[in-house]
Symmetry: C2
């Protein structure tokens, strides 16, 4: 384990990870990794990691807490004198509808998302006008390394969505999707394809005038705005056989909605921490303020399992064993069994987190477009 | 002035600006913009803006301070009980070698960097291996909107550098370089060209083993690694007539070093808050810890003013009237006068900040490649 853990883990997320500040995650002589933060005037510094609170011990303005048995990408909340703040000494991702500190510890099997000495694709920020929102929007596009070298070739496209409270940057900054694809393509495990990542928290106004995420708007934006924009700007293969969609958590619901209602557009679907149903609809306790309900009308695609199997060459579902939403996933198992619809189903060690979602992408990508 | 100031100013910097959190910059009924931050347990909250400290007043866990007469992009330091933190309620840029809160207030003449209803280019993150550092590096590339629509065309390139403590994202996130170029190109004021932005804090090890920025390494990386990579991957015009370099502050020194020593590569140079000399060299008081000195050997390019005028079709220098480093700029005036070297020289209202640098780019871009 290297001393420069934070710097290493966040190479090339330089907005979010400060090179040149003291390393906040260090491994001591006893082999235990600790977070160390400086605060000269605080009476207390505490950390919240995976819903548990850890009080830091102070020595000469440096506050230290040993890390629990976490690994990979783990969110950390920092509290100074009881008030939550962002630390400039830990890297920052965008989650829970705000910038969020995290730590990135090495994983034994983490080689698949590391920046390695292989050809690297680019990640492009594109701007397009959305007819659905009536405003400009922006998305990220992963373009495989070989794209410019083969101006005669056209490529398949995966539309890949983040979860609730995240945005279009999540799959690159937190998920390392571009590095996962670079590595899979270099090893010949996946064919080269584009990945298009959009901000999925598309909002409407409720009757009372509040802004609310409407899960039906992103599917419309993908179909009416994004696909025409991408197919117009990039050398894509535009038939349904060369278009896939996947998403995590909220993005998996949006994938179900988009994919099930548009068999003419998609041949491959991936649900990561993944749900058939917009199961939040009708359950205001789960998300009382910022959701407009969807009606789950897309589930009628399950009524004809033969047509479903014909439409979707790969229907992938994955989840972490400790995901707090696993009950909904298991209910989906029953729904699919009753309907007679088959899927590729994967269980992972871990919870509702990026460590699982990275592995979902690693396992889904080799199955599509081949 | 709109209530959603922060959200507006940071549209499409979504990692850095939280949609969905309460607006931290609001305009009250009295017309005065104020910063409002929540802290439930703090005994004091204060802000540092342009080197002055403002104590916030508390009311029901909300801490408020009226904004001083600042405008545009302004860094803000937040202190809770005397300890500096990042607020998740203000947008975040990368400056001073760390993530940094800022506010973005409207400017009367700020239309030139706003996202408007014009064709938009893309911003691409590229990865390349550097022979200078022996490691992988990453840069951002602005590609004008028309690039994909004209596969037969080749384009000029501007190499554009940030300042000390910043990184390759600065010109996009803080500088709005892509939007400035989109607008200039749409108005026919600039020809379409690529902009390549690299991380300029390229480091070496000093004799004592410390890491130190060496201003001579970025120039080598540009010449030996970046230009071949960009000319290999993009449809560029590769002669000296179609290559420019510009930079701000430290990046202006690096532009002088790179440009003056490579007249065979560059025809246009821009120094923003801009310096001929690595004037920090030999002055350890200015930057005692993280600089390896350069030798200013590049200044011999000034010995032959006729050759200089022949080589550099545009030699642009700009600075803010209140820049704390203006003495060095005025000394450079004398050096150029003595040498008999002409330049385009612009003075702006403002200091050593992004508001001036955005205007430098706005004024420099129309002068090159035409």
């Amino acid at each position: 384990m290297d001393k420069d853990l934070t710097a290493q883990a966040n190479a090339f997320d330089p907005v979010l990870s400060p090179p040149g500040v003291p390393d906040a995650v260090v491994v001591d002589a006893d082999g235990i990794p600790r977070i160390r933060l400086r605060a000269d005037h605080a009476a207390s510094v505490s950390l919240i990691i995976e819903r548990k609170t850890y009080e830091c011990r102070q020595e000469n303005s440096v506050w230290t807490a040993p890390l629990p048995a976490c690994h990979g990408f783990t969110y950390v909340q920092v509290l100074i004198d009881g008030d939550e703040v962002l630390s400039p000494y830990l890297p920052i991702a965008f989650g829970c509808s705000r910038p969020y500190n995290y730590i990135a510890l090495p994983e034994e099997d983490g080689d698949f998302y590391r920046l390695k000495d292989v050809p690297h694709g680019s990640v492009r920020r594109e701007y397009f006008h959305s007819s659905v929102t009536g405003d400009w929007a922006s998305c990220l596009v992963y373009v495989p390394a070989e794209y410019e070298a083969h101006p005669e070739r056209r490529y398949p496209v995966l539309y890949l969505q983040h979860g609730h409270g995240e945005n279009e940057t999540g799959w690159v900054y937190s998920g390392k999707a571009n590095l996962i694809l670079d590595n899979l393509i270099a090893e010949g495990k996946a064919v080269p394809f584009l990945v298009v990542m959009n901000a999925g928290m598309v909002q409407t106004r409720t009757a009372s005038g509040q802004r609310a995420v409407d899960h039906l708007l992103l599917p419309r934006m993908i179909v009416e705005d994004v696909i025409p924009f991408i197919d117009g700007k990039y050398r894509t293969l535009t038939d349904r056989e060369h278009r896939a969609m996947a998403g995590l958590s909220m993005g998996s619901m949006q994938t179900s909605i988009t994919g099930f209602t548009h068999p003419e557009l998609f041949s491959y679907l991936g649900l990561f921490s993944g749900f058939l149903r917009d199961f939040i609809a009708g359950n205001p306790a789960m998300d009382p303020i910022d959701r407009a309900p969807s009606d789950n009308a897309h589930l009628k695609a399950l009524d004809d399992p033969a047509a479903f199997a014909e439409h979707y060459k790969v229907f992938f579902r994955g989840i972490g064993e400790d995901d707090h939403l696993i009950a909904a996933f298991l209910e989906d198992d029953d729904i699919l069994k009753t309907a007679g619809v088959a899927c590729i189903r994967k269980m992972y060690q871990g919870g509702h987190d990026w460590n699982v979602w990275r592995r979902c992408l690693r396992d889904f990508a080799p199955l599509i477009f081949c």
